[in-house]
Symmetry: C2
Subunit: 367 residues, 2 copies
């Protein structure tokens, strides 16, 4: 093995992956999944207009490095200025840039124990020290997060609302009140990846120029464009401007820019998807109950199902589903890992889930 | 202005952009370009099979984070192992990861004065100290680069073959010989973005496991997929493996993965593009000569044209072309900036160039 002159930090990092992809699991299983319900993708697909726009793109051209049209359309949609918006390669990419801007070796960051692992991956990747607070009743706990941020002098505190992987949420008003306890100089990274699936009032009413908060949103969820990799962040112009220091300016896929623009314009389609999501959540809950399992309330495009015992039992059910061709995931950390997490799917997807879950539960009970 | 707690390095960086995109120029001009000949995109477009594959992609699914199929196909195509290959969001993205792995504040890196600015952007972005050596006869100078690397203890040395922005090249044999002078522990970052446009023998014969070299290639050039953002690096497995420490695992656009796979499979189409590129280079050279300008030899999909005076004169011609609706770029640094750089285009594109270049030259001469 050659002794490459990696930085000390890079040398210390594992060659890891926050998640194993379903394709890798399919290769291991030797067959494709029958239903893809594990990555919170939108099984209802994107707006047909988005597909048309992508197909009509001259993909031999680089994308506009300023994502000018998409930023403008988002600004109009959100009633903010384009200077409040940065477009990036999914929320994952934007989280990476944000962490790079703020975190160097020894800097402290706060998140919940069991929250989004890719954020943690970025923090570790820049040498940050991650402090975690427990979930409270399967919800992220803003008071505890902000208290821990104060205690540790954190530069960033991560909170997803609605939450992934539990699907729970706080009202926007609750979050606005909680912000009073955010220590000065600490930025709240508010991951709103699932906000389109939540009820009105879930997104907190925060001024776009408020320097305390940066919101992260995506076209990967309800807009159905996970494979296109388009996320955006909304924040104070000075903060947004800092992304230009480090981002991959020509990193945006041109077709993805066009697809996101068309998807945003088709709010009627999004409304249909919202309806499908609500129906699918109800169906998943029903299937869970029929199998003696307890669905958690959800404001997202997935449902966490409490399997009623420990993580090993939930994992056994999950393994049973995967072996039967249903791709699902589960929380990583106790006590949330007593649950499995099922993404909303089409009726056909959920028919498959309904068909195989009884056997998966039975096998797990035999254990 | 809020005093954000950026890292000291981030605070010191400008909010810059390595290149202004043609779309921004079009917005300034208030009209679209008539011919897009500035970004070395492939105006001949991608293989129709690539377009079909992208359109057939379930874009609601995340891409395979392992890019398993594409890596496998590239490995077979290049006669290397998949463990020699990492796929990334264009060469730009891969250069960013590479620099992040190796460069921290104060580390030295070597490149040519006037070579690819995005590499320099990444080096600055991680606090590296960049040493530059001059071009020699409009070619990058391997001996001077490697001598400077030795002198400065550089961790990385960048060399593009064929070169951008000059279009010149070294034979593969010349580079293999030059490698004897690469200091131990310094990695040659060999940017082969334009290799598909070069003659056989331009790519050096270097064992894929050779720890001294990492090669960067792309689907943005001859494959016609600039907007899709698919690049790859070939190197020793230990070095390739290090990318997994820091990369955005789910950063690849799923349609782009499928498009690149289909484009790679259509070598017949690539061969046609190569023919178009050679013809376009000849035509650009002819147009240059007709206007009293001197084309440089090129092994790329563009031609650098020596305008015969200083940078201001070349800039005046460039401005004249842009004002007349022809997007072109030029080298940033003297003496290369006596040239303008014209990407290969279709016959229709080059008809437009031929029509407007005389006026642009005449206006510049009036100066």
């Amino acid at each position: 093995m050659t002794d490459f002159r990696l930085t000390a930090l890079a040398a210390s990092l594992p060659s890891t992956v926050p998640f194993v992809g379903p394709e890798a699991q399919e290769r291991q299983l030797g067959k494709p999944f029958l239903a893809r319900l594990g990555a919170n993708e939108s099984n209802f697909g994107p707006s047909p207009r988005a597909l048309e726009a992508m197909a009509a793109t001259d993909v031999w051209n680089y994308g506009d490095p300023e994502s000018f049209e998409l930023r403008g359309a988002l600004a109009a949609h959100l009633n903010v200025s384009p200077t409040n918006i940065i477009i990036g390669e999914g929320i994952d990419g934007l989280l990476g840039y944000l962490v790079r801007l703020f975190v160097e070796t020894g800097d402290t960051v706060v998140t919940s124990d069991g929250a989004y692992p890719t954020f943690n991956y970025h923090v570790a990747g820049y040498g940050g020290v991650l402090h975690k607070v427990p979930y409270a009743n399967d919800q992220e706990n803003p008071s505890a997060l902000f208290a821990k941020a104060r205690e540790t002098g954190a530069k960033l505190v991560y909170l997803a609302n609605p939450d992934n992987p539990m699907g729970t949420w706080h009202s926007g008003e609750t979050l606005v009140r909680a912000l009073d306890d955010l220590p000065a100089g600490c930025i709240l990274v508010l991951d709103e990846a699932y906000i389109e699936c939540a009820s009105d009032g879930t997104a907190p009413d925060i001024a776009p120029d408020d320097p305390r908060v940066i919101r992260m949103r995506t076209f990967s969820g309800a807009y159905g464009l996970a494979g296109a990799r388009v996320g955006y962040a909304v924040g104070a112009p000075d903060l947004i401007d800092a992304f230009h220091k480090v981002r991959n300016h020509f990193g945006m896929n041109r077709a993805a820019q066009a697809g996101a623009l068309a998807a945003l314009a088709d709010q009627e389609y999004l409304e249909q998807v919202r309806g499908h999501v609500v129906a699918a959540r109800d169906r998943i809950a029903e299937i869970a109950l029929e199998n003696g399992l307890t669905p958690l309330p959800s404001a997202t495009n997935f449902v966490a199902i409490d399997c009623g015992r420990d993580g090993a039992f939930a994992k056994a059910i999950l393994d049973g589903l995967i072996a039967r061709g249903v791709f699902v995931r589960m929380p990583f950390v106790a006590p949330q890992n007593r649950c499995i997490r099922i993404s909303c799917g089409t009726e056909a997807d959920l028919d498959i889930l309904a068909a195989v879950l009884p056997d998966a539960v039975r096998d797990a009970q035999k254990g």
